[in-house]
């Protein structure tokens, strides 16, 4: 039977419903299926774009295996293609993934007491999707002692499918000759635009992007390692200043 979307198995002896590690695990996997399906094209496009940008198949799969962060991987590939400095790419990866710290902080009270054998993989595979599902399960009022199996199921399902479809993308990217003829060389810029626009939620943010873009154009003749960094720096400075001037209420320290 299912209660609030969670599968409980009936325990014959005392006639009560009780979740098991296995049922929690399976429910966790099931919960992320819609998110996985929606993400498949994105995964494949990542594989294709990364190959197209010149990375080796091993490097592309390695990114998915060891980094396991979609937007950071996309941005990393784009920055590599633009010739950005290694340190700068790593720094940007760190910043882009900082939101995962908030997810981890939110989940930390719920996983307290678990062994490192659990915490290491759970931490390693944490993403937006598995966070949403896991915190949803933990917030349900029942006292199942096996909710970490749900969390693990969600994590593993996301991880394995991400690997599979990255691989599909790698194969496609490597085997289709003249990929430019398919317009796939625009996949990376298109993905960047798709990620950029929703982030422009305020005028300072918009300004930061505009300034960064314009400076990038002007600095294009610089050796690429400089141009990108200078442009990003200019954008950030412009944004911070603009926020101070245009939205002073937001820049006041709030009591926390």
């Amino acid at each position: 039977m299912t209660v609030a979307g969670t599968h409980f198995t009936r325990d014959e002896t005392d006639n009560s419903i009780r979740p098991t590690p296995r049922s929690e695990f399976i429910n966790g996997m099931k919960a992320v299926i819609p998110l996985i399906v929606g993400g498949i094209p994105f995964d494949v496009i990542f594989g294709v774009s990364a190959i197209e940008a010149g990375l080796s198949p091993a490097a592309v799969q390695g990114m998915s295996l060891f980094i396991f962060a979609g937007s950071a991987q996309f941005i990393g590939v784009g920055m590599m293609a633009a010739g950005a400095a290694t340190g700068f790419i790593i720094l940007t990866t760190f910043i882009v993934n900082l939101r995962h710290s908030l997810y981890a902080a939110t989940l930390a009270p719920h996983v307290r007491g678990l062994s490192q054998r659990w915490l290491l993989p759970l931490g390693f595979m944490l993403t937006d999707e598995s966070f949403v599902m896991a915190i949803g399960r933990y917030n349900q009022p029942d006292n199942s002692p096996y909710k970490h199996y749900y969390f693990l199921g969600a994590n593993l399902a996301m991880y394995v499918t991400w690997q599979i479809f990255t691989f599909v993308g790698i194969v496609l990217g490597s085997s289709i000759p003249n990929i430019e003829n398919w317009g796939l060389d625009f996949a990376l810029p298109a993905a960047f635009i798709a990620m950029l626009v929703p982030q422009l939620t305020s005028r300072p943010m918009l300004l930061a992007a505009v300034v960064a873009g314009l400076v990038a154009l002007a600095a294009h003749s610089l050796p690429n390692q400089m141009g990108l960094m200078v442009a990003a720096l200019a954008g950030v400075i412009a944004g911070v200043i603009a926020e101070r001037i245009w939205l002073p209420a937001e820049t006041e320290e709030t009591a926390s």
């Binding site: 930390a108 626009v197 300072p204 954008g235």
Partner: protein, 110 residues
């Protein structure tokens, strides 16, 4: 070798952002000044990479003309992203327009 260092570095910072907080910190808060500044980094970096890609044509010069498929497709993709906030739709439409426009421009030149 450079690839390996880069990927290892990216993997390390990503893991560092997830695991230690999960295992050790249940209260994670960055100073407000830091978050207020850092939030501008992703849009700045994205824009700094995307705009040159859209506007520089194959000859290495900025092209603002309608013949630049990257420009046309980029603008339309931005509109789609703005209206739908849908990642997949933006990518697919952007790629489609790019392909179609580039083909169109190549036939017109003949």
């Amino acid at each position: 070798m450079n690839e390996v260092i880069l990927i290892a570095g990216m993997a390390l910072v990503t893991f560092a952002v997830r695991y230690p907080v999960l295992a050790l910190l249940s209260r994670f808060q960055l100073p407000q000044v830091v978050t207020r500044t850092l939030k501008f980094v992703p849009p700045a970096v994205l824009a700094a990479v995307v705009l040159p890609e859209m506007l520089f044509n194959d000859a290495g010069q900025i092209s603002l003309s309608y013949t630049n498929a990257g420009l046309i497709a980029g603008v339309i993709a931005a509109l789609v992203a703005w209206r739908t906030k849908n990642l997949l739709a933006t990518i697919v439409i952007g790629m489609g327009i790019f392909l179609a426009w580039r083909w169109l421009m190549s036939t017109a030149a003949l």
